[in-house]
């Protein structure tokens, strides 16, 4: 189970349509990375860990909808770093990442996920650039 969800080939194939990259972390685990340009009001997948979770973002003008969709029946708990909540609409600029931490209780042991998402709104384009990465260990 754990080996399946940490398989880079499986993750890259699942996210190939939106250009997701996947690789092994040097100290063990899986790295997912993607970048997406999402129009205001549209919901788009920015990270996909098959068999574990999908991260969908819905940018609005002043808010960001965040959905962590579980793709497993195993228990999971997500936490957001509250200090990063305002990063999306920080009028002073500065790229403050959205940070999420998850913990999956898999049958063969716990697996932790650390997600970071940088966003850059382009109001003329009516869209937001997202650069996202997840480390699964």
């Amino acid at each position: 189970m754990r080996e399946d969800v940490l398989d880079p080939d499986r993750a890259a194939a699942a996210g190939s349509a939106f250009g997701q990259l996947a690789g092994r972390l040097p100290a063990g685990g899986l790295l997912l990375a993607s970048s997406r340009l999402v129009e205001i009001g549209a919901r788009a997948t920015v990270l996909l860990a098959p068999g574990l979770f999908r991260l969908d973002l819905t940018p609005q003008e002043e808010t960001l909808g965040v959905l962590t969709r579980p793709l497993t029946r195993d228990p999971v708990r997500w936490q957001a770093d509250q200090s990063a909540w305002d990063g999306y609409r920080d009028a002073g600029g500065g790229l403050v990442p959205l940070e999420l931490r998850g913990r999956f209780e898999l049958a063969d042991g716990p697996l932790t996920v650390a997600v970071r998402v940088l966003s850059l709104a382009d109001s003329d384009a009516g869209a937001v650039h997202f650069a996202a990465r997840a480390e699964l260990r």
């Binding site: 129009e39 009001g41 919901r43 997948t45 384009a125």
Partner: protein, 271 residues
């Protein structure tokens, strides 16, 4: 640009999106239809056959059309950026279709780093609480951002109305929005951390906790305001703000909460 819409049973939507979302380069826009189904719109999707193979079922009411690439043109046709508050206030960008008959149409362009276009729960809740009040004199929008609350107050009959913000870009945007909506509002660049707090019969304070502390301190022994709509607070921040207002003789009379944010209407003790 190719735009496609199709419909899914609402009860199965999320399960079907598990198969569809990774395949849709532009993501989806959702529109509940009220008949137990949801309409999904997307741009430049892969072939229908591929999506139906992924979901294992036909995608109902599949409609394809060619639409302009420019998002403003598409927004004008399909909407998607407007909010209706209390059935009376229609808050939209200049690129969204106008309000239905009978609604007050507020047109706001986001610019200058200003806040309050209506997409945030604090703005919508503040507007909802504002609608509960009958106009009775002047209003001051403290931390006005794009000017949404001040413009709404003016459209609802409050006068005179002043809007202040510490960000010059926001004040400029509010001034433009005020002119766009044909209201008479005095806009000022003011830092409420140091400048005197403008008082009026109604205070609209959609701002972070330090502004509420400053406003509450300014209320002691003041004959104005007669009502306060306060927001910009996450729910956990409300008790501290309420204590500060209570020390000045103000009590929470109504509260709304949405997505972890809160907005309250305050009235004088014993009112």
């Amino acid at each position: 640009m190719r735009r496609v819409t199709f419909r899914l049973p609402a009860a199965e939507k999320e399960d079907l999106l598990d198969a569809l979302m990774p395949l849709l380069p532009a993501g989806v826009r959702e529109r509940p239809l009220g008949d137990g189904r949801v309409e999904l719109a997307t741009l430049a999707p892969p072939a229908r056959e591929l999506l139906e193979a992924a979901t294992g079922r036909p995608l109902e009411d599949w409609v394809e059309e060619t639409v302009p690439a420019d998002w403003r043109v598409r927004r004008a046709r399909f909407g998607g950026g407007a909010y209706v508050v209390g059935g009376r206030l229609h808050v939209r960008s200049p690129w969204d279709p106008p309000a239905a008959d009978g609604q007050i149409d507020l047109v706001l362009e986001r610019a200058g780093g200003g806040f309050g276009s209506g997409s945030h729960p604090t703005t919508r809740m503040s507007l909802a609480l504002l609608l509960d009040l009958a106009p009775a004199g002047g209003a001051a929008d403290l931390g006005c951002g794009l000017g949404t609350l001040a413009i709404a107050a003016a459209r609802l009959g409050w006068a005179p109305v002043v809007g202040v913000d510490r960000m010059g870009g926001a004040v400029a945007a509010a001034r433009t929005n005020g002119a766009r909506n044909g209201v008479d509002v005095e806009w000022r660049e003011t830092d409420l951390e140091s400048a005197p707090v403008p008082l009026a019969e109604l205070l609209l304070v959609n701002a972070p906790p330090p502004v509420h502390a400053r406003v509450a301190d300014a209320l002691a022994d003041a004959s104005l305001p007669h009502a306060i709509v306060a927001s910009g607070l996450v729910a956990a921040e409300l008790p501290a703000a309420a204590v500060r207002y209570a020390a000045a003789g103000w009590t929470v009379a109504a509260a709304l909460e949405e997505e972890g944010w809160t907005a309250v209407r305050l009235e004088r003790d014993g009112a």
